[in-house]
Every structure is written in C-alpha cells, then in structure tokens.
Amino acid sequence: MKAAHAGWVFVSPALFMIAVFFLLPVLAALGLSLTDFDIYALARLDNLRFVGGGNYLRLLQTPLFWKALGNTLFFVIVGVPLSIVASLAAALLLHSAVARGKAIFRTALFAPVVTTLVAVAVIWNYLLHTRYGLINEVLGWVGISPIDWLGDPRWSMPAIILFAVWKNAGFNMVIFLAALQSIPEELYEASRIEGATALQQLRFVTLPSLAPTMVLVSILTMAGYFQLFAEPYVMTQGGPLQSTTSVLYFMYEEGFKWWNLGSASAVAFLLFLLMFAVTLLQSFALRRWSEP
C-alpha cells in the first residue's frame, strides 16, 4: 500500500465520525433553527413547517431569553476576570523562588479542576447553606449576618461565580506557570541592576511577558464560561426568580423539557454567534499585543 493511500485510510474513520456526529449536526442546527420543529414534528415529520427567522424574532421578544443572556454575560464579565486574577496570583506564588513544596502545592491547587462538577456542586450547596454553611459561619466571625446565597436572587449568581472560580482557577494557573517559567532570567537581572523593586518587576517585566498568554487564557476561559449549565442545573434549577437561568440552561429547557427543538437550535446558534464575535475581538487583541 502506498503512503498516500495509507494517509486516507488512517484519517477516514475519524473524519467520518466528526462529519456525521459533529459537522453535519451543526449545519442541521442552522436549518432546524429556521423551522418550528416541536413535539408534533417529533411524532410526525409532516407537521414540520419552515418559519424563516421566526424563532429568532420570537426569542428576541422573550423576556426570559434576555434574562438568561444577561445572567450568562454577568457570569462571563465578573467570573472570567476573577478566575484569571486568582489563577495568576496562585501561579506567581508558586513561581516565587522562596516557595517550598511547589509540586505538592501545585497538585493541591489543581485538584478541583479534575473533580466532577455535579459532585463538588453538592459540597458547595452545603458550604453555602444559609444556616449550617461554613461560609456564613466564617462571615459570622467578622460580624456579617447570614446570607441566603442560593435563595436570594441578588446572591445566587455571585455564589455560582465563587464556586466556578474555585473549580477552574487551577487550570489557568498551570498555563500561567509554564509561561512564567519561560520568561528569560536576564530580563529580571537587567531590571535588578537598574534598581527595580519587586512590584516594578511585576509590572514592567512579568506582566508584559505574560500578555499573549493572558489573552489566550481569557479566550479559553471565556469560551468555557459562556457554556454555564451544570452549576445552575444542580445548585439552583435556574432559580430563584430565574436569576441563574443561563443561555444553555434556557436552551436545555426549551429543547428537552418543552420539546421546542427548532427554537432551542436558534438559542444555540445565537450563543455561538455571540461567542464567535467575542473570540474574534480577543484574537484581534492577541495579535495587537503579541506584536513587538
């Protein structure tokens, strides 16, 4: 067998699976979002009608969709920077020359990343409990009265953000750590000779060298945070008062609770377009920042 044939033989199975179980469905989602596919069409395909942009127009007039979009954006805008700051702080501490037991600490700080989200959400539900939760207990020591974290619409999203930062910070920490290790030592020596303080080194050497990594990490983190689903599903069921209904949670209910599959596809596409626009903006920033 020739190498050229072998190439096709080796890639075909994977390409076939990706085409049938990913690319085709993505295209079909676009088509489906232009129809009124619902539980009647699920029973008999004759009931399917083409509605053009009808689903999109109706979604834009649905208050709950806007609420879900607002909640998701809140999660992204507040959660992503917090998560990155926590990751960077942890990476800087671990990278410090005076840090002891680096390998152990790195593992400890990374552990939440590999845990199963549903299982750790169960713990956090309990940590956030109004009466018996450890978090309110600790807040009580400094005189803050108990907060109804998951039952008060003003605190439900912050509570989920707190949980998400705890769960995800270790991921970016490892990426930052690798980037920190690749900054040439000469840069620090040069700045020391010029008498820079530790803080000045951070500002003028470390952070600029991290800029490309920073943008990359924020693209990855943002993509993840736009897909908020399991946290509200397990912790709050989208409540209270729909304060934690995310776009994906909305899509799940629209599609698999009410069986409005056409409309749910439109939701998925709107989310994708939004993520795509944001990613485009960020890769533009990446190019600008990476230029010398």
Partner: protein
Amino acid sequence: MRPQPRALLVNAALLAAAVVSLGPLAWMVSVSFMAPGEASSSPPPLLPRAATLENYHQLFARTGMGRGFANSLFLATAATLLALCFNVTAGYAFAKLRFAGRERIFRLLLGALIIPAQVAMIPLFLLLKQLGLVNTYLGVLLPSVANVFGIFLVRQYALSIPDELLEAARIDGAGEFRLFWSIVLPSLSPILVTLAIFTFLGSWNDFLWPLIVLTDDDRHTLPVALASLTREHVQDSELMMAGGVITVLPVLVLFLVLQRYYIQGLLAGSIKG
C-alpha cells in the same frame, strides 16, 4: 539564620490557598462518615463524632448510585478505547503521511474547534432518535469517539517522530499498518497515556449529553444519578456527600497517579492558538 518575612508570607499564602482548594473536598469525605443529620448543626462540625459507613451502605443498597458507578466506569473505559483508535491513527496521518488536501482538511478541523458542542446537540439527538440509539450506551459514545482536540494532540507529538525512522522501515519492506503498529505506536506511548486520561476524565465528568441521551434511571451515569439523588433527597446531606465521594474519588486518584501526562496534555492544548 534570620527568618525571611517574604518567604514566610509566600508560603503562608500558598498554604491558605491549598486549604481553600482542598478544604471542601476533605470536608466532603468527613461528612460522608457522619450519622444522618449530624452535619446540619451550627457551627458545622468538621469531623464525625463517631465515623460510620452507614451512608455508603445506604447509597449502594437503596439508591441507583451503584448502578451509576458501573455505567460510568463502562462508558468512560469504552470511550477511552474508542478515542485511542480513532484519534491516534488520524493524528499520526496528519503529522507524517502525505495525502492530497491534508493541510486544508486539518485547518478546517482546527477551525471547527471554536464551535461549541452544544450547537450540534439538538440535531444529534434527532439523528440518534432516527437511528434508534436514544437511551443506549452507543448513543452516548458515538459523538465523542473522534475529536479534533485529540487528533491535534497526537499530531503535535507525532511531528517529532524522525522521518528517517519511518523511511528505514519502509525500505526494509514494512507495510504501513505494520509500521504504525510496531514503530509509531511505541514512540507515541506518552501521548497515548495523555489522550487516554483526558478522554476518561472527560467522559466520567460529562453531564449534559448523558443527561439528554439516557432516559432510563438504570442507565444513568454517576453524575446524572447524583444530580437526581440531590433532587430527591434534599435533606440527606450525609448520604449525598457519600455519593460525591464515590463520584470524585476515582478521577482524583487517576489524576494523582498520572498527573505528569495530564499537565503535559493541558499545556500542549493551550498553545493551539
């Protein structure tokens, strides 16, 4: 020697961070050994008064968690084996075998990485329904066996296999499959471990897709079973913590044993931009 305040500060901060990240997990283990109702007191107890295995016993005797554990183990293992078959051959071919359109197809695949999986989910569900695969294990597995990230990971690593090695084997008369089996696979073994652990963890921790596809309670995976347990047994926090331990412990141990490979894959994946 003069104690260094800076060193003290850094290490204290690291210790505090480690307590925050491991504390909830340690507490979950502790509560899982408490008697029913014991954790619901103020201040919350840190250790059980008298450790008991009752919650674990209840968990396997009364709830579907034992079944969920078996389902998850089976699905994650099958997903891992399938992912190895499909992604490793493709990744190697994209790195080392020349064929028409190779670069263009690969770029197209990388472009597909920005499409979130949820966009495909609804048509995928309808497709599986047409194929009669809703509520089957195969339905859970099929969409995940080949994935772009896995192919990318293997390709990056396979690029480092020297061409001379492959040419020498070809001159000696080895066919392409023989070559793949006896030369390529052994030299790819570190990245195979990486891909395996990524797939296993991904499958074990996945929630939304199994939730959609598997409708029967006794086919539920562990996370889905745990989520429905928390909805039914809101008061039994000790029981749920035991369920959490059962769900988290296997993947945490797997990560601890193979973390070198996991971190390596994470870093290779993050420089894909």
